[in-house]
């Protein structure tokens, strides 16, 4: 055979390999093909192609592997079991940028499914190689490496700690400053995933100077970038007062309030999460937010959004109100009670209703003024209904009961309490009656109103064990009225009167 024909055989083989690997990569983009590919044993075929001489075949094989591993975790486990990872990690250090991108894609696809797979990726020594990739010039390579690191750090605190120990954080902060938009997004998301686990990790991220750069990007027009930036800042601020103060010192307020009106709903949600995490630590931070007009913005946000998006907003109002009574008054004055009332009424989900009930309880528990504002918004019957409905979750029941208790213990606005007399179960009723017994002895006008509205009748119908607190309250109330009126309203009085007729001897 001549030399040319021998070379031709090799050329044909190379063409065949290229075609195979390109077709597999293309097929792997569609989910319905992947089952078939898996059954055909594509993993064992792709593995030797990773070691091919021709660089394009290597890159396309890596890309195909990445797409397969991305699809589900069985394939990702097959990648791990097939001992492919060490080879990928080794060649990450050596090859050109297309291969690095593809290899980082495979690592990311494997690490995203579960903590064990991510641990397997880390055990192959991928972290050092990925960190070296972060120092490259090409933004695509940096993006893939940062994405892989983010997915690894997402699962648990130990994995995040190992990512930090590999020295990734300063490089990620440098990536955040790059002009390339997608790189910024991925780097911000990776920082968010690292700092969410523990205060030490968040402190490490802050020590690398991340807050200043993240704060600069708050007013960027790109929506996805803003999502990640707000998420990162929220994860940093949530751990401790010092971190929250550092986030606030970066002068994000009041610019952040603008983003509460962003068209993209996840930007709004993450923004509200950030404000909530800052507000929950101390009264001073909440005061800062209130003075910047944050409560008005948040109430509008709660009114405009629907569903899970407004949960952080509702919780923020509760946290602010819990700190002190003038903050609670500030919320009342900013029409916060109406907003929360709307949430309680219109939301179908239990956990959001529970959050709204909790927040209302925090607002109303400080003083009679607060309780009056809350009661006047007609909130108490709704809370009662939420407590009594048979199909609600336990969380909602407990929270609405506690909120009712807190508000009732301070409420002296009797018109709002009267509807509760009709429907309340005994444990709530005793608080209601306690409040009546506190107010009625001192106020003649309210006594009259109480009688005319049928309240006294209701009281008489309550059966209480003698010696319990409820009986004492009923006694106190009965003592406010002359005996005839009490007897008139007590049940069975008409029968008693009729019995007197029977014993009466007419004087002729």
């Amino acid at each position: 055979m001549s030399q040319r024909q021998v070379l031709q055989v090799f050329e044909q083989y190379q063409k065949a390999r290229t075609q195979f690997v390109q077709t597999v990569a293309e097929l792997a983009t569609r989910p319905q093909n992947i089952e078939t590919l898996q059954n055909a044993g594509v993993m064992s075929l792709l593995r030797p192609l990773l070691l091919d001489i021709v660089p394009t075949i290597q890159q396309t094989a890596a890309l195909a592997l990445g797409r397969l591993a991305n699809y589900n975790d069985e394939l990702a486990e097959a990648v791990v079991k097939g001992d492919i990872l060490p080879q990928l990690v080794y060649s990450l250090a050596e090859q050109n940028r297309f291969y690095k991108k593809a290899a980082a894609f495979v690592l990311r696809a494997v690490a995203k499914h579960s903590p064990e797979l991510a641990q397997a990726v880390v055990d192959c020594g991928a972290l050092d190689a990925l960190v070296i990739c972060l120092e490259e010039f090409d933004p695509g390579v940096k993006e893939s490496a940062a994405w892989a690191l983010g997915y690894i750090a997402r699962h648990s605190a130990e994995l995040a700690q190992s990512v930090v120990d590999a020295g990734a954080v300063p490089l990620l902060v440098l990536c955040v400053q790059e002009p390339d938009l997608s790189l910024k997004r991925i780097a911000a998301s990776a920082l968010s995933d690292i700092s969410k686990h523990s205060p030490e990790l968040a402190q490490t991220v802050v020590d690398a100077g991340a807050i200043a750069h993240l704060a600069q990007m708050v007013l960027n027009p790109d929506a996805k970038l803003k999502r990640q930036v707000f998420s990162a800042l929220a994860q940093i601020a949530k751990h401790s007062v010092d971190l929250a103060e550092m986030v606030v010192e970066a002068e994000i307020f009041p610019a952040v309030l603008t983003c509460l009106k962003d068209p993209d709903e996840y930007v709004r949600k993450n923004c509200a999460t950030l404000i909530r995490e800052v507000a929950k630590h101390t009264p001073e931070l909440s005061q800062l937010i209130v003075n910047a007009g944050g409560v008005a913005a948040m109430v509008d946000f709660v009114g405009d959004s629907r569903g899970n998006v407004r949960l952080p907003g509702v919780m923020m109002l509760g946290y602010v109100a819990a700190h002190s009574e003038n903050l609670a008054m500030a919320i009342i004055v900013s029409r916060g009670v109406l907003g929360l009332d709307a949430v309680l009424q219109t939301e179908p989900e239990d956990h959001i209703q529970a959050a709204a009930a909790w927040s209302l309880g925090q607002i109303g528990r400080h003083s009679p003024e607060h309780a009056k504002s809350v009661a006047q918004a007609n909130v108490l019957p709704k809370l009662l209904r939420a407590y009594l409905r048979p199909d609600v979750s336990e969380d909602l029941q407990i929270k609405s009961k506690k909120a009712l208790k807190h508000i009732l213990q301070k409420c002296v606005h009797l018109e709002a309490l009267e509807p509760l007399l009709q429907e309340a179960p005994p444990n709530i009723l005793k608080h209601v009656v306690a409040q009546f017994s506190k107010v009625l002895p001192h106020n003649p006008k309210s006594r009259r109103l109480f009688v005319t509205s049928g309240g006294l009748k209701k009281i008489q119908e309550i059966r209480a064990e003698p010696g319990s607190a409820l009986a004492e309250y009923i006694n106190t109330i009965n003592n406010c009225y002359p005996e005839e009126i009490v007897k008139y309203y007590s049940p069975g009085y008409s029968d008693a009167l009729l019995e007197r007729i029977e014993h009466y001897l007419p004087q002729v």
Partner: protein, 294 residues
């Protein structure tokens, strides 16, 4: 008889004397008692007055202390009220704070509404720009759908009472010709010289002429051959120089290589270390002898 009377007189005398003695002792004792009582009386008064004085001092002290306590309590009362009203809970400043908070909230609400409006306007503008761009791109590519005099197009159908807006869009946009696909090019003609063409623009033709059955020996790399074949014309300096001008100077006039001996510092040549080399003298001559007028 005198003996009897002696006893009676003796008894009487004794009686008188005892009475007198009694009187005297009694008066003495009385006097003594009186003195003692007097002394005791004075002493008791003294002690009593001393005690009263101590009690008086005590009570005066207590009265003073009560007075000071009351005054101090008054001061503290006033101070506590002032302090609480000013620093702990100032009702009026709280009221003012809540009112200013309401005002601030309104301001923030209106500002945020403005910014939201601006953002929406921008988003809408971007959307509109995007749709306009897409329509323009479509119209540029589909100019052939425009109707002619003879044949009305789909958008200008005679069965419809009005023309569709696509027709006007097609008429108004300037059509974009599709990008020219590079032609296959001439066959590989080794005898064809192409002067002045940048070798990067010349493409290698996709099909080379068929090789004869017998290979003709080791071939050089096609790139090398092409580089040699399409090498740029590298003329000598004499040929490349323009006849008429020399850069910005007009060629061959008084300014070209002119010599101004009156501006020389001295007429002597530079002194050399080495003896003069005749070849250099030749080079010092004018480009064409006698061409330039001295």
């Amino acid at each position: 008889e005198a003996e009897v009377h002696r006893k009676e007189e003796y008894d009487a005398a004794v009686r008188i004397q005892s009475w007198y003695r009694g009187i005297r002792t009694r008066s003495l004792v009385k006097n003594l008692n009186r003195c003692a009582i007097r002394i005791q009386r004075h002493y008791r008064g003294f002690m009593g007055r001393r005690r009263i004085r101590a009690i008086l001092i005590d009570s005066v002290k207590r009265m003073c202390l009560d007075h000071y306590n009351k005054q101090a309590a008054q001061i503290q009362k006033m101070w506590r009220g002032f302090y609480v009203r000013k620093y702990v809970f100032d009702y009026y400043s709280r009221k003012k704070y809540l009112e200013s908070l309401v005002a601030k909230n309104e301001m923030i609400r209106s500002e945020l509404a403005e910014q939201e409006e601006a953002m929406r306007r921008e988003a809408r503008k971007r959307e509109e720009e995007e749709t306009r761009r897409r329509l323009r791109a479509w119209a540029e590519r589909h100019h052939y759908l425009v109707s002619t005099v003879v044949q009305p197009s789909v958008f200008n159908s005679p069965y419809r009472p009005f023309t569709l807006p696509e027709e006007t869009l097609l008429l108004n946009t300037r059509p974009k010709t599709p990008p020219k696909v590079a032609s296959v090019g001439h066959g590989f003609d080794p005898s064809w010289r192409q002067y002045g063409q940048n070798q990067l623009m010349v493409r290698l033709p996709s099909k080379l002429p068929p090789l004869p059955a017998k290979p003709q020996g080791p071939f050089r790399q096609p790139e090398e051959v092409r580089a040699q074949r399409y090498r740029e014309f590298q003329p000598s300096l004499r040929v490349a120089t323009d006849y008429e001008a020399y850069g910005h100077l007009a060629y061959g006039n008084a300014h070209f290589r002119e010599v101004q001996p009156e501006r020389h510092v001295t007429q002597d040549r530079f002194r050399t270390i080495v003896p003069p080399v005749p070849v250099f003298d030749k080079l010092n001559a004018e480009y064409v002898e006698g061409y330039v007028e001295n």
